[in-house]
Structure formats: structure tokens, C-alpha cells
């Protein structure tokens, strides 16, 4: 065991996979010499050489498109997009090829690759550095979407993502890159994709979140506990495949559900969960399923961000209203 933050844990996962599998290749903008703008890939080029860990030209479409080529040829590229807001030039390669090659070639060509990038707000960043657009990726048939909420999960999920024969979008909540430290095994371990994690058991209401919002929900749950409300917290871990079983079982028990995301409200993960609950466990519900999300607006620059970011108070507010419904 070793104390790690999420940056260390992701670095460790990459290190383990680079060491044991020569087909793993890591690249992206400033990923090699500098080790990435958040230092996630620090030291890896020194260890594994500039043929396997390297800086690419500044072109996201180029990075993802070449990764598709590498993947069909038998490599396992793990590419970095520098920030959530800069994935979009690569959208064509993600939607038109990375997600479809398997289907198009009827299983002959697979694209075992990981596209990782920091996402989310709360770090006082300039424009385009704070979005939480997981719903865009969740909407693409043919890719998996994974979001860790702790260093331990980041390591285990990334190892699974690299070993997956599918394309995995791996979104890293940069707000908690260094904010959460915990003991993480230095050994190799993996956490299955598509399985949610029950962070804490409760009986009155199920609150579902992922990424940086899990910590906010935990704070809200403490506030709720002081009011005598018992919250069951589910960390989704994977946006897609989505773990319906865990959600359903929990809602059957509590009869109430709130989903918390820092993304815009409409057409999002929270809406998807609400509908899963409505379709499958409707008769267990004692209150309408709720969404606590950011607004359908652009993430404000830092001076306005407090208006936008979901706070523990707002989560608690919705918990109280739902329980008292």
C-alpha cells in the first residue's frame, strides 16, 4: 500500500500496463518530455522510451485518428486529450471510427484504445477547461465511458480500460486530482467496467453520482444524517455500460432517487437514470426521481462559477425535499 492521489494512481496504472504489455503506447500533447500539463504521465517517457511514450503534434483529430489505426493494427494506445474542452476536434474520429470499426468490420477490427482527459469545474480555469460533457460520450453507441471518483478507483478502472478490447473514454475529475489521497495497492488490480459501487448504505434515499460529485454527495449526506435522513450513495464509476441492477436494487430499498451531476441538466446522465428508474422500478417510488445538476448554460468563468457548481447544500436541499415529499 502507498498513499496516492489520483494523478499518482493513474500514473501507476499506466506504468503497470506499459511494463507488462509492450503493445501499450501512450501519447498526446505535452505527454512525453513534460509528463502532461497535470503531470499524469510524468517519468513514463524516461522509463519506457520516446517510442512508446511521446509528445504528438497539437491536433486532437490526429491523435485519436492515429490511435484508431494503431489499435486496429494490434497496439493498445492510451491517448490524452489535454482538457475536456479540446476533445471536440477529435469527435469525428471518435464517433465515425473509434466507436464503429468493430461493427463496420463485423468484429474483424477492434479498437482497444483509451482516450483519457481531465474534465469538470471548480478549479478557477479559463474558458473551455471546466466542462463536464460525459453525456455526449454516453450517447455514442460503441464506446464505454468511465469516470473514477477516488485514486483507488482510478487505478483499477484504468487498468480495466486499457485491457478492454473496446474504445474507452476515460474522464478524470481534475478538481480532485490532488485533493483526495488514500492508500492504494502498488500491486496490479482491476475494477470491472460497468459496475457501480455503493459508497455507503442507507435507507431513506438513493443518491447517485460519479467523479468529483461523489465527494459533494458525501458532504450532503452528513448534513442529511444530522437531520435524521439516511442516504445510500452510489458511485456509478461507469456512465456506459450503466449498472442498472445496482440502481434498481437500491431504489427498491429506499423508494427515492436523486442523481447528481455537474454537467448541464438536459439530456444528461441524470435524465437517463431517472428514466431507468421510471421504467423499471416505478411502483417502488415514494417521490419523483430528481436531478441535481448544473444549469443548461456555459460554465461561467471563475468569478461566476460558484453560481454554477453543484454544492453540498444544493444536494442536501433536494434530499430534504425528496424525503419530505
Amino acid at each position: 500500500m502507498k498513499i496516492m492521489n489520483m494523478v499518482n494512481a493513474i500514473n501507476d496504472a499506466l506504468d503497470i500496463k506499459l511494463k507488462e504489455d509492450e503493445s501499450v503506447i501512450v501519447y498526446g500533447e505535452d505527454v512525453g518530455v513534460e509528463g502532461g500539463v497535470f503531470r499524469v504521465t510524468e517519468g513514463l517517457q524516461l522509463k519506457y522510451g520516446a517510442e512508446r511514450v511521446f509528445d504528438s503534434p497539437l491536433a486532437e483529430s490526429g491523435i485519436v485518428g492515429t490511435a484508431v489505426g494503431m489499435a486496429v493494427a494490434g497496439l493498445r494506445p492510451v491517448v490524452e486529450m489535454q482538457f475536456c474542452g479540446f476533445v471536440y476536434p477529435a469527435m469525428n474520429q471518435i464517433i465515425s471510427h473509434a466507436s464503429r470499426m468493430h461493427n463496420r468490420s463485423r468484429g474483424r477490427f477492434k479498437t482497444p484504445m483509451v482516450i483519457r482527459f481531465p474534465y469538470g469545474g471548480g478549479i478557477n480555469a479559463l474558458e473551455h477547461h471546466s466542462e463536464s460533457m460525459e453525456a455526449l460520450y454516453g450517447h455514442i453507441p460503441g464506446v464505454k465511458v468511465v469516470i473514477p471518483s477516488t485514486p483507488h478507483d482510478a487505478k483499477g478502472l484504468l487498468i480495466s480500460a486499457i485491457e478492454s478490447n473496446d474504445t474507452v473514454i476515460f474522464m478524470e475529475p481534475k478538481r480532485i486530482y490532488r485533493a483526495i489521497k488514500q492508500e492504494v495497492s502498488e500491486e496490479k488490480f482491476s475494477i470491472p467496467l460497468g459496475k457501480a459501487h455503493i459508497v455507503s448504505q442507507g435507507t431513506d434515499v438513493t443518491v447517485i453520482a460519479y467523479g468529483a460529485m461523489v465527494r459533494e454527495v458525501q458532504k450532503a449526506a452528513v448534513m442529511a444524517k444530522n437531520e435524521g435522513i439516511s442516504v445510500e450513495i452510489i458511485d456509478l464509476r461507469s456512465i456506459y455500460p450503466i449498472d442498472k441492477e445496482t440502481i434498481k436494487e437500491s431504489v427498491k430499498k429506499t423508494g427515492r432517487v436523486i442523481t447528481v451531476t455537474e454537467s448541464p441538466r438536459s439530456f444528461g446522465v441524470a435524465s437517463e437514470i431517472t428514466q431507468i428508474v421510471n421504467e423499471e422500478v416505478f411502483l417502488y417510488l415514494e417521490a419523483p426521481p430528481k436531478r441535481v445538476t448544473s444549469f443548461d448554460t456555459i460554465v461561467p468563468l471563475p468569478k461566476g462559477e460558484h453560481h454554477y457548481m453543484v454544492s453540498p447544500e444544493k444536494i442536501f436541499y433536494e434530499i430534504e425535499r425528496t424525503v419530505k415529499y
Binding site: 483529430s61 479559463l126 443548461d296 468563468l301 468569478k303
Partner: protein, 363 residues
Amino acid sequence: MFNTYNPLNNSMFRIMDNFGKIINTDYFPDLLDEEILKAYHDMLFARTADLMTVSYQRQGRIYTYPPNYGQEAIAGAAGKIIQDDDWLVPAFREMGAYLAKGATLKEIFLVFMGYEDGSKFEYAKNMLPTSVPIASQLLHAVGIGYEIKLRKKNQAVFTFVGDGGTSEGDFHEALNFAGVWKVPVIFIVQNNQYGISTPFRVQTASDGIAIKSIAYGIKGIQVDGNDFFAMFAALKNASQYAKSGNGPVLIEAVTYRKGPHTTSDDPTKYRTKEEETEWDEKDPLKRLKAFLNDKKLIDEKAEEILIEQYIAEIDRQFSEAENYPKYPLNDVFDYLYDEMPEDLKEQKREHEKFLKWKENLKM
């Protein structure tokens, strides 16, 4: 100029050497001494503002900032060429051009303090806000160029991008469209040798950027970007060329980012002291000052006083920005649509209800 200059020879267009001596009189711009001195002072102001902005950041009074240090001649010269009616479609490392266009430091500070309001740049005619997604703005410049051409206006568009930006597809699409449409757009590539930590040789196997113009069927020139006169002459010719209906020009301004990429970056990780020292000798302000000194136009005492005045002015605008009103909730919602959709109004109302509840929570 563009009919005789051949980018294939890859010779860098220069007018002044590193010591301020004129080495190319053919193209020496037709400028009065006072005008040259004024240009030097504008660059000095931009540098002073830039260095002070970095120190404000170090004091925690603004967020991340991308320094211009070492690249001032490019925006400085552009600022002299870009006319009121011309368009400026910027990237984010050409403060001098922003200022020449009429943007205020206060507005620039507001942006880096985290207010969108700064990006309005309300006194700057025909200037778009900063574009963070690298190279994407170049296509907007081409679209604006199309409007100018369609309506037969006597204007040009000046747009900026970095060497890293030339790797993006948008850069190539913009050059291609501009060539096909023959629009009056001047692409200024600030080749400062790095895109964050990534050196130029990782961006392209080509000898330079200007050379790329050939394949797009447009004019291109590689210019010593730390030579104010060379930049001035190239931009002036490009502006005339474009406004006469000849089409776009690609200017590669070879320079060096003397500071970090942004205040969050540490260049010691990826470049050497020797390299930095080598470029110190080509510093754009140092060179122009040497030229002016030879002409006995520099008065050190007066310059010191001037810098004092600049500092006071910059501080004044900074404190105006620091005293800017709090960011109201409405500002999150009000600027997305011409008319706010009902659902969005409701989201705001809902949030206001929560805020009321929260106030009671505290009591």
C-alpha cells in the same frame, strides 16, 4: 514583396540585425523618427503590462495568464498596420494588437480575473474575443474575409495563431478556404518555438511554416518576428496586397516565447538556459532600442519616467478591474440566447428558490 520573395529558399526576411543595424534598406519602412519612437514606447508599455500581469498572478490576484514576453514586436507592428476598419481575430498571445485595436487593459484583466464581461472589448472596433481552442479562430477570419470580398469593402482581416496551432486541421482548412476564395486575410503565425513544452520540430517535419503557403496557392513569407521593421514592412505589404484583391498572405513570424507558456508552466523542464540566453540577444525591444540609441533618440531618464507612468496607469486599470462589481446570477443565464427559453428561466427561478432556502439554513 510577395512576387519576389520565394518561401522555398527559406530565407528569413530581416531589416535590422541583432544590434539594431539596418541590413536591408530596400524595405526599410517609411516611418518618421517620432513614429518609430512611439512604436517602441507602445512595445515597452505592452511589455511592462505583461510583466506586471505575471506579478499580479504570482500575488494570486488573477488566474492563469499567458505571457507575451519576447514576442512584442509582432503584435507591436501589427498594431501599427491594422486600421480601425480592419478586423482582428486573435488567439491569446498578442496583447499589443489588442491594445492597439482599442481593447483596454482593464478588460484584459477582467478576463483573467474570471469575468466574461472583459471579453466584450467594447471600445475595440472589429475585434473578436480571445479564442482558446487552438487554431479554430482562423476559419472565422476567413468567413469575415468572405463578407469583405462580397461587399467589396476596403478592409483586411488579421488573424493570429501559434506554431503549435499549425498542426491543427483548422489551420490547413483555413489556408485552403482562404486560397480558394481569395479573401483578404493575413495569417500571422507566431512561431515562438514551443507549444507549451512541445518544440517546433515535433509539430512539423517541414523547415518552416511560410513554406506551407505554396501548397495552398497563397503568398507566404518567413519574417524575423523580433525585428520590428521587418514585421512592419511584411504586414504593410501584406495588407496592401490583400486589400487590392490578390488574396491571403501567410506570415511566419519567427520569435521566442521568453516566458513560460502560462503562469502554471515551468519551462526548465523542457528547455535549456543556453537556448534562452541565445534568444535574449535577439530580444525585440533591445534591438529596436539599439537602433533608436544610434539615432540618439533614447533618453534614459525620460524612459525611466515613462515606465513609472506606465506602471501607475497599469496599476490604475488593474485596481479598476479588481473593484469590478460582483458577478450576478443573471450573468450566467442572460447571454446564451436572443430570447431566453422558458426552461432556462425556470432553472434560474428554481435556483433562486434554493438560494432563499440556503439563507434560512444559515440562520
